[in-house]
């Protein structure tokens, strides 16, 4: 098995659990969504012939979405976009929310920014926050964008070979 195939397969396996989390704390949904998108992006950004695993960076989703604009028309149409300009506009509109999802990885967020996995300290108040009890308002404030991104990722996952 190649590294590319392994990352794409694990993204689909993570997504099986992610889809079961709709009734759970939003932090659980975000935790798995971030992991699914990272692995999916790494899979697509890794050549089929690569003998090396992708780098350990967590910053891959936005780059993946920018590059996805170059998808062949047949794949774009399978994803539900007969028109290329609409596909590009859709992807561009989701880059801000994708940037926020990318930043949820604990290694990116650090000890002072929200992440869905580990408690962190709010710098302005000094309060220590439990992810499972946090609102993630920066994500929920853009719920439509979040839902559009979820829809896109589900569609891409459905067409991973």
């Amino acid at each position: 098995m190649t590294w590319r195939e392994a990352f794409l397969r694990q993204a689909r396996i993570d997504a099986e659990l992610w889809r079961c989390l709709d009734e759970t704390a939003f932090s659980h949904q975000l935790h798995y969504f971030q992991m699914v998108t990272e692995k999916l992006a790494k899979g697509y950004l890794t050549p089929a012939t690569s003998a090396k695993p992708p780098s350990h960076t967590h910053i891959r989703l936005v780059r993946f979405m920018q590059q996805l604009k170059t998808a062949p028309a047949s794949l774009r149409e399978k994803l539900g976009f007969p028109r290329a300009d609409a596909f590009r506009a859709y992807l561009d509109s989701l880059l801000p929310i994708a940037t926020r999802i990318e930043a949820l990885a604990p290694a990116v967020a650090g000890d002072n920014q929200p992440n869905p996995e580990y408690p962190w300290q709010e710098p302005s108040t000094g309060e220590i926050i439990v992810p499972g009890e946090y609102s993630f308002a920066s994500i929920t404030a853009e719920k439509v964008q979040y839902m559009k991104l979820v829809r896109l990722i589900r569609s891409v996952l459905a067409h991973v070979k």
Partner: protein
């Protein structure tokens, strides 16, 4: 369909759908379509190697595809992926826009 034919078809598709692509280069390979598309409405890369997305074959595109987007300021300044050769091996495709 040969790799070159598919490269030109994919380049034409992308140019037709993104008018801001200024140039497209094809890096010949026997099995894989390898394109670099120059686009100025693109954030600069913060890594040294050109980042590429890989698409599996489609029914009308039988060869594996690899496409990199590059900002004009980073054109020929980034390292190409392993086995792509040098920037000089890239052939500019004349695509009607």
């Amino acid at each position: 369909m040969t790799v070159e034919e598919q490269a030109k078809k994919l380049a034409a598709q992308n140019k037709a759908t993104e008018s801001k692509i200024s140039e497209i280069y094809w890096f010949p390979d026997e099995k894989e379509v390898r394109l670099v598309e120059v686009l100025d409405e693109l954030p600069l890369q913060d890594s040294d190697e050109l980042e590429v997305i890989y698409f599996n074959p489609e029914p009308d595109m039988p060869h594996q595809m690899a496409i990199g987007l590059v900002h004009p300021r980073q054109f020929k300044r980034l390292t190409l992926p392993h086995a792509w050769g040098t920037w000089e091996t890239g052939r500019k495709l004349e695509i009607a826009g």
